[in-house]
């Protein structure tokens, strides 16, 4: 049974080794904050960090992540304290339906870690997730706000 390192904890994951990490998180471990949107690496709703790199978990089989550091939306706040991106998202009321926002926040958090002061072009390049509600304008504003915070 693969042992995963998720949000700083060791977790047993009983599933077929070829199962995508997305479904291991959601169905095996009950961590439903990570979302299914397309299953083919197009939408980014399933984005998690693997060793700090934003990754579309629908494309990552369980047997490839043993021993690597996985962070999900449930694990990016510091206890009760939202991270900078979450805080900016809150202040600007970024989410509409919210379904894409776990993935958006994971992508934006990784962007800010890599580039503390991203330009619009950096944002365009890093934020390729789909939002059908169309929150792109507020996402851009919130990333800039978080960078300044």
């Amino acid at each position: 049974m693969p042992v995963l390192n998720i949000n700083g904890q060791s977790v047993d994951a009983k599933a077929d080794p070829r199962t995508p990490l997305l479904w291991v998180l959601r169905d095996t471990l009950g961590m439903t904050g990570t979302k299914y949107g397309c299953g083919i690496a197009q939408c980014g709703a399933c984005t998690v960090h693997i060793d700090g790199v934003p990754t579309r978990s629908c494309q990552v089989p369980l047997n490839s992540v043993g021993g690597r550091k996985i962070t999900t939306i449930e694990g990016i706040a510091d206890g009760d304290k939202l991270n900078k991106i979450q805080q900016a998202w809150l202040e600007l009321d970024v989410p509409q339906c919210g379904y894409c926002q776990s993935g958006m926040i994971m992508a934006a958090t990784a962007l800010l870690a890599a580039k503390p002061n991203p330009t619009d072009a950096d944002i365009d390049a890093a934020m390729t997730n789909i939002c059908r509600c169309g929150t792109y304008k507020q996402i851009r504003e919130a990333i800039h706000a978080a960078a300044k915070a």
């Binding site: 998720i6 949000n7 904890q9 977790v11 599933a15 077929d16 199962t19 995508p20 479904w23 959601r26 169905d27 095996t28 471990l29 009950g30 961590m31 439903t32 904050g33 990570t34 979302k35 299914y36 949107g37 397309c38 299953g39 083919i40 197009q42 939408c43 939306i73 449930e74 694990g75 706040a77 206890g79 009760d80 939202l82 979450q86 998202w89 809150l90 009321d93 989410p95 509409q96 339906c97 919210g98 379904y99 894409c100 776990s102 926040i105 365009d124 390049a125 390729t128 997730n129 789909i130 939002c131 059908r132 509600c133 169309g134 929150t135 792109y136 304008k137 507020q138 996402i139 851009r140």
Partner: protein, 725 residues
């Protein structure tokens, strides 16, 4: 606000939450707020159907409409609280269930959430709900003090007597709940509003930042199994056979069943196992007569309607044919609009638990009552033995107004009594079994006199009717009035914007085999593209500026909205080199809307949409902060469709399967959006949808100015914009 970070406790808590809430409150509601203490039911005081006040002063506002991102939860709560005079910081919301609504004589009225109707249709009765509760709280205070009601006032969850003494709502709730509801419920004068009209924060943001927000797809019940479905690839076709034995031994598979004679479902322990087995399942289909339909057949069918002698008349003034025949100049153009899919971010899903005595359903739905009706019908149980617990929607856009996925979940659950089943559609299933934006073509013919005045106009729409697909019983002598959205002479939805002395707008209905549905903005989308593109074509033929040409024909409130957008955008003033403005306007969903798009097209034909300035007049603007978000968001949806949105068929089967073949706009293509909320007061219009219609139309008019190319067929990706090409 606690944020759950410990991994192990998450599934257990959620399970308790779901099961506990439903059981402890008699299946009454699933709240948004998480966690939701089930014991609450015993202590709460329901003042009336809309307002519950707990001893700690917390106010729970009941919301009948569904939240799908549009903000109706916040907007409707603002309406109630405006009259209730409670402390906004103490407000939470919850959904009554559709079953409870039936039991209580539809005390919450309409649950349907579509057509941008949330606020414009229910503003009166939800404000009355808040006002009635306040009157009862004040009466309870007066009774406790033994003073006249007239000496008491209410504000901020406190009733104050003229002597200065006070009582809190939490203290008064239980006495107030026992009083007779007031017969007369006067409402505030709009000039006295404190909360309506204010740009305040949403009530439902926090859980969407931490992964805690529960959507239908996240529902977890003890012993639950997960199912996934494949329906006949050709809409209208049937299931012939399938070989369950081939997959029954695959990991996690519990059962393979057919439903409705047209779909197969694999039930397994997890979604991935269900999906893997379904992909391996040998299935034979009887595709039926639509199995030979090609996209060219659909085009031919629509073209035929353009010249047909028989058509339903939506708007008629004078003699259009005669005026055009006698005109100094005749202008004619034909346009086409494809099928488009909703593709809400959360794939369709529903969970159902069936026993011969009871049916419970958990799902995101835009119409709880329709979902309940569909569920009861599928279960073959009386409605009184069924209920639906509404979950947050991961987008709706019209798709979740149809209850096909709810029916499917119940049909599966019925074959496994006592076992909760969550049915999840794959994205591929969603792309290929949509309720698509109807496909139409349109021929416009106009006559100008020698001074360039429009003397006659004929708009012939040919194509698909939504009502014929979804609700044929609602057709009016065969006619679908919704087809004429934005083009009708009168009605609460909107009136045609222009005064044309001789006008004919008619529809030759042609219904190809895919199901049409309500798609954010609905028929206003294509009708605005047609009418507003043609207005620019007429203006050019008349040798006039598009704004000047329109202004002469427009009704006052339409003109005011267009002027507001043009003024803000600086229409007519110099733009950066190579940038051009296109304009469009329309009235729909009870609101007046207009847009000015600033676009450029490079030498290589690459379009850039720099900015769209939008104006909307919804009469009263309840929350401008949320309206701005609706306008910008709707432009993403509308421009995604304009740029890329196209569903096509081959051998009757939808060719697009996922976001790789059905592209949508990403962040890098997002224009700047500047929204003018030009609320003129005196009426209640919608905001979730109307403005979407001006996005594509204004961009197309801008493209023409930039390139001299008139795009008449969407999506844009099929058009070459390069100069000389």
């Amino acid at each position: 606000m606690t944020i759950q970070t410990t991994l192990g406790s998450t599934p257990l808590n959620r399970r308790n939450f779901l099961v506990g809430t439903a059981a402890a409150t008699g299946g009454f509601s699933l709240a948004f707020s998480f966690p939701y203490a089930p014991a609450m039911a015993a202590e709460v005081q329901e003042i009336n159907a809309w307002v519950v006040i707990k001893p700690d002063d917390t106010v729970v506002i009941r919301i009948a409409r569904s939240e799908m991102g549009q903000g109706t939860l916040t907007g409707l709560a603002q309406m109630v609280v405006e009259e209730l005079e409670c402390d906004w910081k103490k407000v939470t919301t919850e959904y009554p269930t559709p079953g409870e609504n039936v039991k209580r004589g539809r005390v919450w009225k309409n649950f349907s959430t579509g057509g941008s109707r949330g606020i414009r249709e229910s503003n009166q009765y939800v404000r009355e709900g808040g006002a009635a509760a306040r009157l009862m709280l004040v009466a309870a205070a007066a009774a406790e003090w033994n003073v006249p009601v007239a000496e008491c006032t209410a504000a901020n969850s406190v009733v104050t007597h003229s002597s200065g003494k006070t009582l809190t709502y939490g203290h008064l709730a239980s006495a107030a709940a026992k009083l007779e509801p007031p017969k007369e419920i006067p409402l505030k004068d709009p000039k006295d509003w404190k909360l309506i009209g204010k740009p305040i924060h949403r009530l439902d943001t926090m859980d969407k930042l931490t992964g805690k927000q529960m959507y239908g797809i996240d529902v977890k019940l003890p012993g639950m199994l997960t199912a996934t479905v494949k329906a006949c690839p050709v809409n209208g076709g049937k299931l012939k056979s399938f070989d369950a034995a081939k997959v029954e031994k695959m990991p996690g598979v519990k059962k393979v069943v057919s439903i409705d004679g047209n779909a197969v479902v694999v039930v397994a322990d997890t979604y991935w196992n269900a999906r893997t087995a379904l992909a391996a399942l040998p299935i034979e289909w009887d595709v039926g007569k639509s199995g030979s339909v090609q996209q060219s057949d659909v085009t031919a069918m629509l073209k035929d309607g353009l010249g047909a002698t028989e058509a339903y008349i939506g708007n008629k003034v004078g003699d259009a044919a005669g005026a055009i025949a006698g005109a100094a100049k005749k202008v004619e153009a034909t346009y086409a609009y494809p099928w488009q899919n909703h593709a809400p971010m959360e794939p369709l899903n529903a969970a159902a638990l069936y026993t011969p005595d009871k049916l419970e359903v958990w799902c995101g739905t835009q119409n709880g009552e329709a979902a309940l009706a569909a569920a009861a019908e599928a279960a073959e149980l009386p409605v009184a033995k069924c209920d639906v617990y509404k979950m947050m929607l991961g987008g709706g856009f019209g798709r979740r107004g149809r209850a096909d996925y709810v029916r499917q979940a119940v049909l599966v659950a019925k074959q496994m009594p006592g076992v909760p089943i969550k049915l999840i559609w794959s994205r591929e299933e969603d792309m290929q079994h949509g309720s698509y934006h109807p496909t139409t073509m349109c021929k416009l013919t106009g006559g100008l006199d020698k001074d360039g005045n429009l003397v006659g106009l004929h708009m012939r729409i040919s194509g698909q009717s939504i009502l014929a697909s979804l609700a044929p019983q609602s057709l009016q002598n065969g006619m679908d009035p919704a087809t004429f959205q934005g083009m009708l002479p009168s009605g609460p939805e909107g009136t045609y914007s222009y005064n044309v002395p001789n006008l004919l707008i008619d529809h030759a209905m042609r219904n190809p085999h895919l199901t049409a549905g309500f798609w954010r903005g609905v028929n206003l989308n294509q009708n605005t593209v047609y009418m507003e593109s043609f207005m620019d074509e007429l203006a050019e033929a008349a040798g006039k500026d598009p704004l000047e040409f329109r202004m002469k024909l427009m009704k006052p409130k339409n003109a005011a909205a267009l002027k507001a957008a043009c003024d803000r955008a600086g229409y007519g003033k110099p733009l950066p080199e190579g940038h051009f403005h296109g304009i469009a306007q329309v009235m729909g969903f009870g609101s007046y809307v207009a847009g000015v798009a600033e676009v450029s097209v490079s030498k290589d034909g690459v379009l850039k949409i720099h900015k769209i300035t939008a104006a909307t007049d919804p009469g009263y603007a309840v929350n401008p902060w949320l309206i701005e978000r609706q306008v910008a968001g709707s432009f993403v949806y509308g421009l995604s469709a304009a740029l890329y949105g196209e569903i096509t068929v081959k051998d009757g089967v939808v060719e697009q399967t996922n976001f790789d073949s059905y592209n949508v706009m990403r962040m890098d293509e997002m224009p700047e959006v500047d929204t003018v909320v030009a609320a003129s007061g005196g009426f209640w219009g919608g905001v979730g949808e109307p403005t979407i219609a001006v996005a594509a139309a204004s961009v197309l008019n801008g493209i023409y100015k930039a390139t001299g190319k008139r795009v008449r067929e969407l999506p844009l990706m099929n058009n070459e914009l390069k100069k000389g090409a």
